[in-house]
C-alpha cells in the first residue's frame, strides 16, 4: 500500500468511528444537563489521561534510547548529587500522581453533586418497570383517573425535570438514554430514582444496558421530548379509551382479539381486554416502534410481529398463535386503527 492510500484509509476509518459520536443515542452528543455534565467529565478525563500517557511514554522512550554513559568510577561509590536528583524526580512524580488522582476524584464528586441537584423541581413522576424484554411506562397522578399506562415510548415535556422511579418485574435491567443521562439499574424489589431532563424537543433512543436474557439486545426505548402544550395534548389523547372500530374488518379484528389468546396478556382500555402482563395496546398505533424498538410501526411489521413473534424475537414472552390469514388481517386492521 502506498503512503497516500494508507492515509486515506486511516481518514475514512476515523470519520467512520467519529460518525458514531453524534445522533439519537450518544453520550458524546449531550442533549440534557445530566448528560452534559457527564460528557464534560468524559472529555476532561480522556484529555488529561492522554496527556499523561504521552508524557510517560516519552520518558520511557527517552530512557530506552538514551546513549549509555560510560561509567568510569567504582559502581559502589554513591554519587550524592545524582542520588539527590533521582529522589527529587521520584518524589515529584509521586506527588503529581496523587494530585491528579485527588483532582479527578474531586471533579467527579462535584459532577455527582450537580447531577443529584437536577431533579429538585421535578414536575412529573413516571414509574418505569422493566420486563423481559420491554418497558412499562406509568405516569403517576394524584387523580386516579389521570394515571396513564403505556409502553416502550416515554413522552416528556422538554426543558422540565421528570422524576423516574425504576423498578423491575423479573431480572435486573438498566435504563440508559446516553444523550440525556447516565445509566441506572432497574432492580427487582427496589426502587431507584433518576431525573430526566431534555433541554430541547427531540427523540432520543435508549437501550437496556444490563444483560437480561435472550432478547436483551432488542430492548430499546424512545424518549420523546415535546413542547409543553404538545405534551399535554398527547397526554389527554392517551388517557382516552380506544376508538371504536369503524369498518367491518376492524370490527372482526376486535372480536378476534377479544375471543383469542390476546386478551390473556394485553389491555385495550374501553374493551373487556384488561390483562397487564404484556404491553398496553390502547393506543398502540400512536407509537413509533413495535416490540421495544425491534421493528418500526407499520402495517406490514405489525402483521409480521403478530404472525410470528418468535421468529422476530426468539424467546420473547409473546407466543406464536393459531391465526389464519383472515383473522390476522382483521386484527392488524383493528390494531392499526388504535391511534
Amino acid at each position: 500500500m502506498t503512503k497516500a492510500a494508507g492515509r486515506i484509509a486511516g481518514a475514512v476509518l476515523l470519520a467512520f468511528i467519529l460518525s458514531g459520536c453524534s445522533g439519537v443515542q450518544s453520550a458524546l452528543d449531550p442533549k440534557g444537563p445530566a448528560a452534559g455534565e457527564l460528557a464534560r467529565l468524559i472529555w476532561f478525563f480522556t484529555v488529561l489521561c492522554t496527556i499523561i500517557w504521552v508524557l510517560v511514554m516519552g520518558v520511557v522512550a527517552g530512557i530506552l534510547l538514551r546513549r549509555r554513559q560510560r561509567r568510569l568510577h567504582d559502581p559502589l561509590r554513591v554519587d550524592q548529587d545524582e542520588e539527590r536528583t533521582i529522589s527529587r524526580v521520584v518524589i515529584s512524580a509521586v506527588g503529581a500522581t496523587a494530585l491528579v488522582l485527588v483532582g479527578l476524584t474531586l471533579l467527579s464528586f462535584f459532577a455527582n453533586r450537580t447531577l443529584a441537584g437536577i431533579g429538585e423541581d421535578a414536575v412529573l413522576t413516571i414509574r418505569l418497570t422493566g420486563h423481559q424484554w420491554w418497558w412499562e411506562v406509568r405516569y403517576e397522578n394524584a387523580e386516579p383517573n389521570r394515571i396513564l399506562t403505556t409502553a416502550n415510548e416515554i413522552h416528556i415535556p422538554a426543558g422540565e425535570a421528570v422524576r423516574l422511579l425504576l423498578e423491575s418485574d423479573d431480572v435486573i435491567h438498566s435504563f440508559w438514554v446516553p444523550s440525556l443521562h447516565g445509566k441506572l439499574d432497574l432492580v427487582p424489589g427496589m426502587v431507584n430514582t433518576l431525573t430526566l431532563r431534555a433541554d430541547r424537543p427531540g427523540i432520543y433512543r435508549g437501550q437496556c444496558a444490563e444483560f437480561c436474557g435472550a432478547q436483551h439486545a432488542h430492548m430499546a426505548t424512545l424518549v420523546v421530548a415535546q413542547p409543553r402544550a404538545e405534551f399535554d395534548a398527547w397526554y389527554d389523547e392517551q388517557l382516552k379509551s380506544a376508538v371504536e372500530p369503524s369498518s367491518e374488518e376492524q370490527r372482526t379484528g376486535r372480536d378476534t382479539f377479544l375471543n383469542g389468546p390476546c386478551v390473556m396478556c394485553h389491555r385495550i382500555q374501553g374493551t373487556p381486554a384488561g390483562a397487564i402482563t404484556g404491553p398496553d395496546l390502547t393506543h398502540v398505533a400512536s407509537r413509533q416502534t413495535i416490540a421495544a424498538g425491534t421493528l418500526r410501526f407499520s402495517r406490514g411489521n405489525l402483521a409480521a410481529w403478530i404472525a410470528d413473534p418468535q421468529g422476530i424475537k426468539p424467546g420473547s414472552k409473546m407466543p406464536v398463535m393459531d391465526l389464519d390469514g383472515d383473522q390476522l388481517n382483521a386484527i392488524v386492521a383493528y390494531l392499526e386503527s388504535l391511534k
Binding site: D170, P188, G189, N259, G260, P261, V263, M264, C265, T277, D308, Q310, G311, P314, G315, S316, K317, P319, V320, M321, D322, D324
Partner: protein, 179 residues
C-alpha cells in the same frame, strides 16, 4: 510428550463445550398452527381388559424439559391459576401438590383439564392459551407434586416462596410411604 499435552488441552476445551446446549429451547411450535385435539379418557376403567395407554407425541417433548417447565411456572402466575389453586396448595380449586387427581395425573389428562375445563368450576382455556403453552402449564402442574425430573424442575424463586422450590418438592405419591 507434546502430543499428550496437546490432547490434555483439547480435553480441557472439549469437556466444557460438551456442557453447552444442554437442551434445545424450542419457542416455536411445530407445526406452528393447530393444537392437540386428542380425546383423553377421564378414567382408567374400561370394559374389555387393559388397553395400551394413549400418549400424545408432545408429552415427551415437554415433560422433562427445563425451559418448558420454567415457562409453565411463569404462565401459572400470568394466567392466574394461583387465584383458584393458590400456589398449588389449593383454594377454591383443588390442591395440585398432593397425590390425588380427580381427572388423572398424566400430562395428557392435565392438558385436557386445562384445555377443556372441568364441570365443577375449572374454566376452559381453549382458544385462550396456545396449545404449546397449555403443555408447558401441564408439565409444570406435574412438577408441583414432585413428578418432574429434579434436574429439569424450576429452582429457587426470587419472590417469597409458598413452598419449597419445585426441584426440591417431594414426590406426593411416595411421600410418607416406605418403598
Amino acid at each position: 510428550m507434546k502430543t499428550r499435552v496437546l490432547l490434555l488441552m483439547l480435553l480441557c476445551v472439549a469437556i466444557p463445550v460438551a456442557g453447552c446446549e444442554r437442551e434445545e429451547r424450542n419457542t416455536r411450535p411445530d407445526p406452528a398452527l393447530g393444537s392437540s385435539e386428542q380425546g383423553v379418557p377421564v378414567t382408567t376403567l374400561a370394559p374389555g381388559g387393559e388397553r395400551p395407554s394413549l400418549s400424545d407425541t408432545k408429552a415427551a417433548e415437554f415433560e422433562n424439559n427445563a425451559y418448558h417447565l420454567s415457562e409453565g411456572k411463569r404462565l401459572f402466575d400470568w394466567f392466574n391459576c394461583s387465584g383458584c389453586h393458590a400456589n398449588g396448595g389449593g383454594g377454591m380449586g383443588p390442591a395440585l401438590m398432593d397425590d390425588k387427581w380427580i381427572y388423572g395425573g398424566s400430562i395428557e389428562s392435565i392438558h385436557a383439564t386445562i384445555r377443556d375445563g372441568r364441570p365443577n368450576g375449572m374454566p376452559s382455556f381453549r382458544d385462550r392459551i396456545p396449545d404449546d403453552q397449555i403443555w408447558e402449564l401441564a408439565a409444570f402442574v406435574r412438577a408441583l407434586s414432585g413428578n418432574a425430573s429434579k434436574a429439569a424442575a424450576p429452582s429457587r424463586n426470587d419472590d417469597m416462596m409458598a413452598h419449597p422450590s419445585e426441584n426440591r418438592l417431594p414426590n406426593a405419591t411416595t411421600l410418607g410411604k416406605s418403598p
